[in-house]
């Protein structure tokens, strides 16, 4: 019996939390900007969230591109279709690997640090202090970080895509000997800007909204002690990762179906 009550209680609290986070998102987005200062805050956050993630994103992209090209070559070899390597590499990266892996790496590096930072501000009463000083912490702390995440992730995805393709070129053309002209022309004829490149960026934009939202929400409502912060950070990583994969499926189905 106790177990059933627990499940019920869990369901109710989850609904309340989802509603709270939705309302939170609404308030964050509705923050009116004061342009001069806002720009500075945004830039600082884009630096922290985006630029500092570059190293892990680009290195991963390089290795992933190389591995995909390597594995792909050996499979295509069996069908005598190694000239299609460029096409295979580009489509895999642009449609799936780019948006999804960049988002997952972003979650692990940037989102977890956002949650921890905001959670710590909560625990050391910095957010309460700001409120008492009549400065809305949603405006000053949360909103810049939120928009920084939304701007940074698509940019990072684009850079990931290019680096991964470059890694694939290194392996496919320079190492395994696929003809350069064939490689590129096959790729170009198969990759459609709207349905491949553009859709991939749209995906990463959707991921960016969801993932950054979860990160700042968890940080803001973390319990103000060390256990609370660690719990919040864990939740960010777990929920964000699951949402990325679920949304990826949904978006892919949507895009393959109608676009």
């Amino acid at each position: 019996m106790e177990f059933v009550f627990k499940i019920g209680r869990f369901g109710v609290t989850s609904c309340i939390r989802i509603g709270q986070s939705g309302f939170f998102l609404f308030r964050v987005i509705g923050q009116k900007p004061r342009w001069g200062q806002l720009l500075f805050l945004w830039i600082e956050q884009i630096y922290r969230v985006g630029v500092l993630s570059l190293i892990i994103i680009l290195l991963s992209a390089l290795f992933i591109g190389m591995v995909v090209a390597l594995q792909g070559y050996h499979i295509l070899e069996k069908f005598g279709a190694t000239e299609e390597l460029g096409q295979m590499l580009a489509l895999t990266v642009l449609r799936e690997l780019g948006p999804v892996i960049t988002a997952l790496l972003f979650v692990g590096r940037a989102c977890s640090s956002l949650t921890a930072e905001i959670g710590l501000m909560r625990a050391t009463q910095q957010l309460d202090c700001m409120e008492m000083m009549a400065v809305d912490p949603l405006w000053r702390v949360i909103s810049p970080r939120f928009w920084a995440g939304i701007i940074s992730l698509p940019l990072l995805t684009i850079l990931f895509n290019v680096t991964a393709i470059y890694g694939g070129v290194l392996v496919g053309v320079d190492w395994l000997g696929v003809d350069s002209g064939t490689f590129w022309s096959n790729m170009q004829s198969a990759v459609n800007f709207r349905s491949d490149v553009f859709n991939g960026v749209i995906k990463s934009l959707v991921f960016a909204v969801v993932v950054t939202w979860i990160a700042v929400y968890q940080g803001f409502y973390a319990a103000p002690n060390s256990l609370g912060i660690s719990r919040a950070t864990t939740k960010t990583v777990v929920y964000s990762s699951l949402m990325i994969l679920a949304l990826d499926f949904a978006l892919t189905a949507l895009m393959m179906g109608g676009w």
Binding site: I43, E44, G50, V51, L94, I158, N161, Q188, V197
Partner: protein, 167 residues
């Protein structure tokens, strides 16, 4: 000042990402090959379009000049009605051009190949191509092959019999 460096780096980051996007657009995808030009639409009817899909290429002598826009069924004569968007640059296709559905490679997808005719007048927006050849359907091919093998067999049997009788 510290913020100057930060501004600069963020600026570089955004520029790099935009350049990367341009790279993807023009070097990785086929954006330039078939850019945003003007198009005109023409139609054609086929008995069987095989595996032809929307956005399949329409080409002349192997050069892509357009795409398949829509595919529908004409409810009067139950033939497939295909409309194609042709790049406005290629506006001198004669009206007796024929449309054929071929396959890219052996296992590839279908596309439409136009063979220009010799008429003076040209196709315009809304024109219809009269001469069409449908896609090769594998089952029909195999049927034909079996039939022709069989008739060959019968033919040579007859000859043998005739020879045998003649001697």
């Amino acid at each position: 000042m510290k913020s100057r460096v930060v501004d600069f780096v963020v600026g570089i980051f955004i520029i790099a990402a935009l350049l990367a996007l341009l790279f993807l657009a023009f070097r990785v995808s086929n954006l330039t090959n078939f850019g945003n030009g003007k198009y005109y639409k023409i139609t054609a009817e086929f008995d069987n379009i095989g595996g032809l899909k929307i956005r399949a290429p329409v080409s002349v002598s192997g050069v892509k000049i357009g795409e398949v826009a829509t595919i529908s069924l004409d409810s009067n004569n139950y033939r497939a009605l295909v409309s194609m968007r042709i790049n406005a640059r290629y506006n001198n296709l004669p009206i007796d051009t024929s449309a054929n559905i071929f396959t890219q490679g052996i296992l590839g997808s279908n596309y439409i190949s136009l063979s220009p005719g010799f008429d003076e007048a040209n196709l315009k927006a809304g024109s219809r191509i009269e001469t069409t050849h449908s896609a090769l359907v594998l089952e029909n091919l195999i049927g034909q092959l079996i039939y022709s093998l069989k008739s060959d067999n019968d033919g040579s049997q007859k000859k043998k019999n005739e020879k045998g009788e003649g001697s």
